[in-house]
Symmetry: C2
Subunit: 199 residues, 2 copies
């Protein structure tokens, strides 16, 4: 016996969730049908509303429902510090450490083999953001991977001679790790231990 | 910084999925927004369509999109065997063993402490199904838990003297386990080793 078409379609669709394989998707689908149809309908609506309503902040390019995100709109943040990260999830991770400067969110990291150069990841927009601001320090908080390091180094070179410090978060984190997966304490130490990049 | 309202709503809604806590829900929400908005929209639609379109088979009370499910409509199934289970998920588990009789799906098991008596779990409908059929054996495949055993024993008593065998799946499975979680081989052995219930 196979699942009926609507159940099969639901199982297939649930597999787009990170970490959800065939078995888990089956269990989720049947449990929702059996135990929480109202909850499932609310989830359907929340998914649809979020996918339509959540865009990108035009200043920092983080996820935002309004033109400017909460952070960019907050006048109490430190305008002298800019933290550059690889993705929106990293903003939440860095916020958790108590950082209260500004952000810029790249679209990932430089990856020449995949054809992802400076334009593809938003470097021109980053430079425009920096020109429009009054930052004394740009903290390069890309992931401590080979590509993240290369991206940080590339940006540091672009900022040389522009009258601001380009710093790199300390290697308190395991090499090859991902910012969004590390615990808050480790990330806080890494932020606190940041050093200027020597070109 | 907190998540924006639509993202927060999405995270909350994702937590209704079995096994998904706060951290996992956050990760799912942000990954969908970042990497697969079309997939998320398809998931929203699949959820909604399944919750509206999937009902219960009027004969076996399993999940079905049509009045009668695939199994009940299939003329090649063995009409002399009825397998009684606690929920729709168990039907898929038993099917997997190669069983090709008919089914009846209870709404769980008897649970006097929760006020769940015979009517609440569908015993009258089970008896009506048995009256309307021509079964020589009713296999009681409720879970091997205290409540599942009590439910099987209760049904066996109701069937005494009705000219059919009431059998119980063998205890090849760990006591306290759940049918839907056991591997197919173990469940197949348990089915094959079923014995009449001696009252
Ligand atoms: Zn912003
Ligand atoms: Zn049916």
């Amino acid at each position: 016996m196979s699942f009926s078409p609507l159940i099969r379609q639901l199982i297939e669709s649930l597999r787009i969730l990170p970490g959800v394989g065939q078995k888990t998707a089956q269990r989720m689908a049947l449990q929702l049908l059996e135990r929480d149809r109202n909850g499932a309908q609310r989830l359907a609506q929340a998914l649809s509303q979020a996918m339509e309503g959540v865009g990108y902040c035009k200043s920092c390019r983080s996820l935002s429902e309004s033109e400017l995100c909460q952070i960019c709109e907050d006048p109490r943040r430190d305008d002298s510090l800019l933290c550059v990260v690889e993705g929106p999830m990293d903003v939440y991770a860095v916020e958790h450490t108590g950082f209260r400067g500004r952000y810029f969110v790249l679209k990932g990291h430089l990856s020449p083999l995949d054809g992802l150069g400076p334009e593809a990841i938003g470097i021109p927009e980053l430079l425009a953001r920096i020109e429009a601001g009054q930052f004394s320090e740009v903290i390069l908080a890309t992931n401590p991977t080979v590509e993240g390091e290369a991206t940080a180094h590339y940006i540091a070179q672009l900022l040389a001679g522009k009258g601001m410090v380009a710093s790199r978060i300390a290697h308190g984190m395991p090499l090859g790790g991902e910012l969004e997966l590390v615990d808050g304490g480790t990330l806080a130490h890494a932020l606190a231990g940041r050093r200027p990049i020597n070109l």
